[in-house]
């Protein structure tokens, strides 16, 4: 099937119905592996058992940025190609992105208290991630404020692309400024600095979280398509009632 065929919402719904059982099974399997490995992973020589927080903090941090990246691509789809599913994809991803960004902030605070002696500092990494969370809330609020989905989609797309400027700031904040947060230790040109006994569970959990996002996103997109059908039918019903 050519990729462009997926632009048809009915075809997307049919594909989602076939894909979702497999995605759910793959997500559950990945979490069983990831959590199993996280439980038996050794303690860090400096951080002790608190390193286990990393197995949920890093995947949620990755997803918080990845999802905004997906929304930015969808925003281009809305503004440049007017792809029928682009703003459906963006709107459906925003609450999921907000959830994972909130999880990143909470787990970071809970990790910071025993390691840094504080739940929060206004340094570049933490503040830029907080800004990302507020931008997610802003996009969600914009979608809820504008009633017409196509107008809301264009406005949200512009806000999303403006907000994408924050992604490199988050990524390089630990290099550009002095922060309490440690520098990159996984996604580095020179390779990861983490020992394989901790890196393998971390990768397994990252795959599990990413599969969870894909499953939630496909489900939320399916819901959004149904919501738009409901809206169309309600408008038709109102037109019939007005003409009767």
């Amino acid at each position: 099937m050519p990729l462009i065929d997926l632009a048809n919402p009915s075809r997307f719904l049919a594909l989602a119905a076939k894909l979702l059982p497999w995605l759910v099974a793959a997500t559950l399997f990945a979490f069983a592996i990831g959590l199993g490995q996280a439980m038996v992973a050794p303690d860090d020589y400096q951080q002790g058992a608190t390193v286990k927080i990393m197995f949920i903090h890093v995947p949620s941090a990755w997803l918080s940025m990845f999802i905004w990246g997906i929304m930015s691509l969808a925003a281009l789809g809305t503004l440049v190609w007017r792809h029928p599913l682009a703003d459906v994809a963006a709107k459906s991803a925003a609450p999921i992105g907000a959830g994972f960004t909130l999880l990143c902030l909470i787990t970071g605070s809970l990790w910071g208290r025993p390691m840094w002696g504080t739940y929060w500092v206004w340094d570049a990494r933490l503040t830029s991630v907080l800004v990302l969370f507020l931008m997610y809330l802003g996009v969600i609020a914009l979608w809820r404020t504008v009633e017409d989905p196509s107008r809301a989609g264009r406005a949200a797309a512009i806000l999303t692309l403006v907000g994408a400027v924050n992604l490199p700031i988050i990524k390089f904040s630990v290099d550009w400024w002095n922060t309490l947060h440690q520098p990159a230790s996984v996604m580095r040109l020179a390779g990861p600095t983490i020992h394989s006994s901790i890196l393998v569970p971390l990768m397994a959990m990252t795959i599990a979280f990413t599969l969870l996002f894909v499953t939630l996103h496909v489900t939320a997109m399916r819901n959004e398509i149904l919501r738009r059908r409901v809206r169309t039918l309600q408008m038709l019903q109102a037109q019939h009632a007005a003409g009767a």
Binding site: M39, D43, G48, A49, T50, K52, I53, I56, H57, S60, P95, I96, G99, F100, L102, L103, I106, T107, L110, W111, R113, P114, L212, L216, T219, A220, R222, N223, L226, R227, R229, V230, T232, L233, Q234, L236, Q237, H240
Partner: protein, 58 residues
């Protein structure tokens, strides 16, 4: 499994993860049921899309 002196922070972090993931799953499942129910009600009242009407006439 010994979580050491900071066990409360580790347990709280995993509990927060479970709560947020459960909330997201609950949101998509309940939203799907709600949309299906409203769509079913509208179709039961005979409200259909024009594309459906054209398909039925053909």
């Amino acid at each position: 499994m010994d979580l050491g002196p900071h066990a409360a922070f580790i347990v709280a972090a995993y509990a927060a993860a479970a709560l947020i993931v459960a909330s997201l799953i609950g949101w998509v499942v309940l939203d799907h049921r709600a949309q299906r129910r409203v769509l079913g009600d509208l179709e039961a009242r005979g409200v259909t899309r024009r594309s459906n009407e054209r398909t039925e006439q053909a």
